[in-house]
């Protein structure tokens, strides 16, 4: 092959955030006119590769060539001018403008800066390629997510992008809509465009992509033609060998006679849960196994009173929790460590001390007046318990490492042993040491009799730290398994199989 056929060439690209290296020695050739898939587990670095090509991240090392020209440090705007457009998981449209205005934003038909007619005709021409059937005058704010995504794609096509990066394009589409998207991708390919397709949905990838790069832990495992790959071969190379992390020994599971602390029966919610039933007993660690958008976090939020149940029932200690609010949940000893610690967990304008106290102010106050000495003692106890560094009661949490921030967040709930602890991605973005400490903490809490619901994108983590697991897909629990008998391969295979087996049901996923 000659160089002209290579749309994007990456050589030895590396990228770090702080101390964490997220990409290592990435070398990939994306051929012009091909649909090239990037696959890997969460955190493997596939979205980051897309963002480097799209100009959102600058590579620390290595070179990126676009259409034969080496580029360094460029912005999404520069990327667009070079014909690279990225379509995001979080879409970037102006909601108050119409479809037409969004598609031609910055490219309006104009004469000396004065808007003139002509956009509509251009829109119709575009529609011949795209065949989306969108109303050009509809306000984007009123469109469904799938339709907004179409607007975004039209925008890329209108800019005559030659390279289009799609990050999880089908995650919010129904099966039918996904098929239409794939038909469009085929048309774009026929016109010589290069598509970089980042996705979890292996079926979609196998059916629609020409080439595939498998990534793991920020590295490229291999790049090959799609011919010859199967779902199994992709899953195998995505997972690779087991990592060296050791797992703490789990306490014995509670006896079968122990009544459950928490029981969900056929619970549905507006956030996409569809007939979820589960139980968690005191001292038991229960894991939710599923991909992003399968409804894992939504179960946690329902249990915590953060989202409303639309049908089904929720029993806590045998009592109906029909009108649970977060405030009542906390009073009853429920705790949720949310997924995004900076956005949902910590108050970064404040120091360690108020962050640790935030959920249990009643315990350190009388008639609403705080007892500073008791508060200090509690926070010091937590700092020692978790080994939080720096060892400062009034440390500036905003500047802590990810692991220490997470420990502060865990302290908020650990300081008064909760009855139910819901952990959503407890070890995301933390270093190995903090991760081990967090794992030990989970076991400690179970030993102390806390019921634990563990949610993690790392299936390995869930399986090794849980007594029982529920397998999830599309807002449903489709199987229950004892985690001692489960391995990662089997779990992933069952999930992918479930996804494939269920094409009729429209995905109700909220990414």
């Amino acid at each position: 092959m000659t160089d002209t056929e290579i749309a994007v060439r990456m050589r030895g690209v590396a990228k770090s955030f702080g101390k964490t290296r997220i990409l290592n020695d990435i070398s990939i050739d994306f051929l012009q006119g091909s649909v090239h898939a990037l696959v890997g587990e969460n955190g493997a670095g596939k979205s980051s590769v897309g963002k480097i090509i799209g100009g959102y991240y600058a590579a620390d090392e290595g070179t990126v060539e676009i259409n034969g020209e080496t580029v360094s440090r460029f912005s999404p705007r520069d990327a667009l001018q070079r014909g690279v457009a990225m379509i995001h998981q979080e879409l970037q449209l102006v909601p108050e403008l119409t479809v037409l205005q969004n598609v031609f934003l910055g490219l309006e038909s104009q004469y000396a800066g004065v808007l003139v007619q002509g956009d509509l005709a251009r829109f119709r021409a575009l529609e011949e390629t795209c065949q989306f059937g969108l109303d050009p005058h509809a306000k984007v704010a009123r469109l469904r997510i799938a339709e907004r995504q179409k607007v975004e794609i039209m925008r890329a096509v209108a800019r005559e992008a030659r390279i289009i990066i799609m990050d999880e394009p089908t995650s919010s589409l129904t099966e039918d809509e996904a098929e239409r998207l794939h038909a469009l991708i085929a048309r774009l390919k026929a016109r010589g465009k290069t598509i970089i397709y980042v996705s979890h949905f292996l079926d979609h990838i196998i059916a629609n992509c020409d080439r595939v790069t498998v990534m793991r832990d920020g590295r490229v495992i291999h790049t090959d033609s799609m011919a010859g790959e199967t779902k199994q071969s992709l899953v195998d190379s995505m997972l690779g060998q087991a990592s060296e992390i050791s797992w703490p020994a789990l306490p014995a599971a509670p006896a079968a006679a122990v009544p459950p602390l928490v029981e969900l029966k056929e619970v549905c919610s507006d956030t996409g849960l569809d007939g979820v039933s589960l139980t968690i007993r005191p001292g038991e660690i229960v894991g939710l196994i599923g991909l992003v958008g399968s409804g894992r976090s939504e179960i946690g939020r329902v249990l915590f009173g953060a989202d409303r149940i639309t049908s089904g029932s929720y029993l806590l200690d045998g009592q109906d929790q029909d009108r649970l609010t977060i405030n009542k949940a906390v009073q009853q000893g429920l705790a949720l460590v949310p997924e995004d610690r900076r956005k949902q967990g910590l108050v970064l304008t404040q120091t360690t001390r108020p962050n640790v106290s935030l959920a249990s102010l009643d315990k350190i106050s009388r008639y609403g007046v705080l007892n500073p000495r008791r508060e200090r003692a509690r926070v010091e106890r937590m700092i020692d318990h978790f080994g939080i560094v720096p060892r400062r009661v009034d440390g500036d949490v905003a500047f802590y490492s990810g692991g220490n921030q997470q420990k502060v967040l865990l302290s908020k709930w650990a300081v008064e042993t909760p009855r139910l602890l819901i952990l959503d991605e407890p070890s995301r973005g933390v270093d190995i040491g903090a991760r081990q400490r967090i794992h030990e903490f989970i076991v400690e809490m179970a030993e102390a009799g806390t019921a634990i619901l563990l949610i993690s994108s790392e299936i390995e983590e869930v399986i090794n730290l849980s007594h029982r697991g529920y397998l999830m897909s599309g807002g449903r629990i489709f199987a229950e398994a004892s985690c001692a008998d489960l391995n990662v391969d089997e779990a992933l295979n069952r999930i992918f199989h479930e996804q494939g087996a269920d094409p009729s049901s429209p995905e109700r996923i909220i990414a």
Partner: protein, 325 residues
């Protein structure tokens, strides 16, 4: 991935950053001290107990409003209706003092203010509208109510049982100054020593985190607006009793002065951080500038101009310091 972005990076520019932080932390106090020293040299009549107490006394109503407004702003809110509440409280107190009972009038001002503040808070949380818009609108409504109460006329209130609040002294110190100090201490206590204060910081710093910690964020917001309204009412009563005249247009523009003072003191307009003493310092700084202009007999045209420039400089300093963090 983004959360590891700011990890334990040792700060190489310790001197510059720490100077910036110091300026951000105590900038307003530094300027106040500089002004005190400068004005003392410039005029013999400046650094006297009488003049300084006079400054305090004159700024008491504004300072009371700024103290409570600090809690609103730390909680992530904004209150543009304090001037109008001041007006409603003024005329209500005047009316009650004459027609009902002067002591009841003194009590009525803060209570009415608290009620109007509660209305603000209920609209803001009930409809989920930004406090800026809600209080902008209610300030027009409240001002209209103030005018309706008197029919647009002024109410002279010459009753000793009422005017002591704004005019009397205990020893050397004006009653209004004592009220200000007590109110300031109360706000500081609420903010720093109570669970309520903690929740205010959390709601303003990260509302979602506060919510997910079991805090009833809406209730906290409503309470801050109640305090702000109550303070505006108290300030209104003090002002009426001082000038013995209740007028519906009283307190026009006071809300902006209060906001300027809070910001000048260094409380973050983004919410989540700040302090009551800062806002009082902001008020004093503005008052000192005014006093300096009077004492030095400078064209008062320059007063607002200077105040404005100092606010811009202070805010720019604070912003650059927080960027370098």
């Amino acid at each position: 991935m983004t959360d590891t972005y700011l990890t334990d990076k040792p700060d190489p520019k310790i001197t510059r950053a720490s100077v910036g932080q110091f300026a951000q932390q105590y900038g307003v106090l530094i300027i106040i001290v500089a002004l005190l020293i400068g004005l003392s040299f410039a005029s013999d009549s400046f650094f006297t107990a009488r003049n300084l107490l006079n400054i305090l006394n004159q700024s008491a109503p504004l300072a009371i409003i700024a103290c409570a407004l600090t809690l609103v702003i730390i909680g992530g809110g904004f209150d543009l209706s304090t001037g109008a509440i001041f007006g409603v409280a003024s005329v209500s107190a005047g009316y009650i003092a004459i027609n009902v009972d002067p002591y009841l009038a003194i009590l009525a001002g803060p209570v009415i203010g608290l009620g109007l503040g509660a209305i603000n808070g209920l609209i803001i949380t009930g409809f989920g509208v930004h406090s800026f818009l809600v209080t902008l609108a209610t300030s027009l409504v409240y001002r209209g109510v103030a005018i309706l109460i008197t029919g647009g006329a002024l109410i002279p209130v010459r009753i000793a049982e009422f005017s002591w609040l704004g005019r009397e002294r205990i020893g050397m110190v004006n009653v209004a100054v004592i009220v200000l100090v007590l109110f300031m201490l109360l706000m500081m206590f609420l903010l720093n020593r109570t669970t309520f204060g903690r929740k205010v910081f959390a709601v303003g710093g990260n509302e979602e985190a506060a919510l997910l910690s079991g805090i009833r964020t809406n209730l906290i917001k409503i309470m801050t607006f109640c305090l702000s309204g109550g303070a505006a009412g108290l300030a209104g009563v003090i002002a009426v009793s001082r000038i013995s005249m209740a007028e519906p247009q009283a307190g026009m523009g006071l809300e902006l002065e209060a906001i300027a003072a809070v910001i000048l003191g260094g409380t973050s307009i983004m919410g989540g951080s700040g302090a009551v003493w800062r806002s009082v310092s902001g008020v004093l700084l503005i008052a000192l500038i005014g006093n300096g202009f009077n004492i030095l007999n400078v064209n008062p045209f320059f007063k607002d101009l200077t105040t404005g420039v100092i606010i811009v400089v202070a805010v720019a300093l604070a912003a650059s310091a927080s960027r370098s963090r």
